[in-house]
Amino acid sequence: MTDALLKVDGLSKRFGGIVATDDLSLTVARGELHAIIGPNGAGKTTLITQLSGQLRCDSGRIQFAGEDITALPPHTRSLKGLARSFQITSLFLDLSVLDNVALAVQAHAGHSFHFWHDARKDDALRQPARAALERAGLSGRADSPAAALSHGEHRQLELAMALAGHPRMLLLDEPMAGLGPEESARMVAMLRALKDEVTILLVEHDMEAVFALADRITVLVYGRVIASGVPDDIRANAQVREAYLGDADKGGVHV
């Protein structure tokens, strides 16, 4: 077994009578791109939210790089190298694109109790921010207000911000959501380039992208893992077909 970077044990979360996460266990090995798929309401985003710490789990344990992070607040997890992107674009819309990424860099550059020097002229923040924008393919828009970007560019900015802190692991919540075919293809190419450097947990509805990128896939239904394995196994798994992908001839997956 390869070296586990993220290990989830018996994670559970309910909202009233609804079980969003049901005794979920999951291991993500260092360096792999692990995709989570499942129908709407399967608890994919809830899982990401618990991993990043915005939501407390009811029971279970989350280990990151060998350390128990179950009780840690979001910002501490982020500083330990667990970065998250949001499904619904969550940016600093009234700041410039470069400011957005520079804030992400600054978060990892020690405390921010610096009261006098102009942060916008600080190369220690601006250079890495520009580099992250470059990698996300957004350097041309550095000085635009974030609000002026297209949806596709917002997704790229999300990625740039997640990358800015040099995370050990990225939690990506539907990075292709709402993208056109061309933008999707560009995002896939970007993620493929990234997966050599950083471990990725990818929640995504775009099956083509998932099967093109993932080393392993976990299938979630009603908050419960029904299958986990390499893409070929998942594609062949009868239970998965029934529960989620639909019959092959109905055209659930064309891979």
């Binding site: 990043s52 915005q54 607040p73 979001p74 910002h75 982020s78 500083l79 970065a83 998250r84 949001f86 969550s90 940016l91 600093f92 819309l93 009234d94 700041l95 400011d99 520079a102 804030l103 992400a104 600054q106 978060a107 990892h108 921010s112 109790f113 610096h114 009261f115 006098w116 020097h117 102009d118 942060a119 916008r120 600080d122 923040l125 911000m161 802190g165």
Partner: protein, 341 residues
């Protein structure tokens, strides 16, 4: 960024130069009243500048900012009453008391958001108000007069009105300078990030609470200093300076002038106090031809005009006065570009 001769920059420069030259105008015309009015404007502008740091730049809707005016004022007045006249003791004490109060209020209120935050800051300010009303030794509801203005070991004489005005103006400029540096620093970027999207800030690794609390305390402290000034200006403090409508006035100044802009609160303070001062007479004059007997009475309803004016600003000129100037500047720049093309 280069300094360009846009309407916004010109008006701002005119304002600053006008403020600096005001005593000259007073000396020439002998209009002492203008000096009194403008001293008040400058002091309250400083309070508004401090509120703008948390309200405008960090999105913290504090509804109890007048409490710091009162705390700074009362600290000064009480020390004076007890025989301590030195400003070297009074003013640092005013600053310290305000800072401690802000620390306590912030530590509790900043754990909440939205309406709850507004209500808690309001409640603390009202507590300070009732506390002052209950201090029988220091005048209770009637307030407390200052025997003399703060003394600074003969270095500066605050009973000279022109000197006092310049001291207030200097402190206003220093506050603006401070806010300018703060808001562009790493610390200020965090505050602006919190205003924009606090959830995201904690997701990318910021413990937002401690930054918000620091900003809250800086703003309260700065406002406490302006409280020490206002006590010296009026030679009097009373609980009413902490009443919640006073906090409302400060918010109006910031919103009217332009939230999250450097000079907006100064414009706002100037505009609000001018309206307060001259609108009643203006209304009376306007009503007189129609109803000579009721003209004086009509002036008392000046807030009926102020209300719609504020509505107009909120609905149609979101950026306040500074926002209007900026829009004007942008239009000018566009026209310029069109001419060149």
């Amino acid at each position: 960024m280069k300094f360009a001769l846009t309407p916004r920059n010109l008006v701002t420069a005119a304002l600053l130069i006008g403020l600096a030259l005001l005593p000259l105008y007073v000396a020439l015309t002998g209009d002492r009243f203008m000096l009194t009015l403008f001293t008040r404007i400058v002091i309250l502008a400083m309070a508004a500048v401090s509120l703008n740091l948390i309200l405008g730049y960090s999105g913290m809707m504090s509804f109890g900012h007048a409490a710091y005016l009162g705390l700074g004022g009362y600290t000064t007045a009480i020390l004076s009453f007890e025989g301590v006249h030195s400003g070297f003791i009074q003013w640092p004490a005013a600053i310290a008391v305000s800072a401690l109060f802000a620390l306590a209020v912030g530590a509790l209120s900043l754990r909440t958001r939205g309406v709850y935050f507004i209500m808690i800051t309001l409640a603390f300010a009202q507590m300070a108000y009732y506390l002052a009303s209950g201090m029988a030794r220091y005048g209770g509801d009637d307030g407390l007069s200052l025997e003399s203005r703060s003394t600074f070991a003969g270095l500066i004489d605050l009973s000279d009105k022109t000197t006092f005005y310049y001291l207030c103006l200097l402190l206003l400029f220093a506050s603006i300078m401070l806010v300018w540096r703060l808001t562009n620093s790493r610390f200020g970027m965090v505050l602006q990030g919190v205003r924009s999207n606090e959830t995201r800030m904690s997701a990318i690794g910021y413990p937002t609470f401690r930054y918000k609390l620091t900003g809250f305390v800086i703003a309260g402290t700065l406002c406490g200093l302006s409280g020490a000034l206002i006590a010296n200006h009026t030679d009097f403090v009373s609980p009413s300076m902490m009443f919640w409508t006073r906090s409302g006035d400060l918010i109006v100044m910031v919103v009217l002038g332009g939230m999250g802009t450097l000079f907006g609160p100064v414009f706002g303070a100037l505009a609000l106090l001018f309206l307060e001062q001259f609108l009643p007479a203006l209304i009376s004059t306007a009503v007189e031809p129609f109803n000579p007997a009721g003209a004086a009475k009509a002036g008392e309803y000046w807030q009926l005009v102020l209300g719609p004016l504020l509505l107009f600003v909120v609905l149609f000129a979101r950026g306040g006065i500074d926002g209007m100037l900026r829009a004007l500047s942008r239009r000018g720049a566009d026209a310029e570009r069109a001419r060149h093309d």
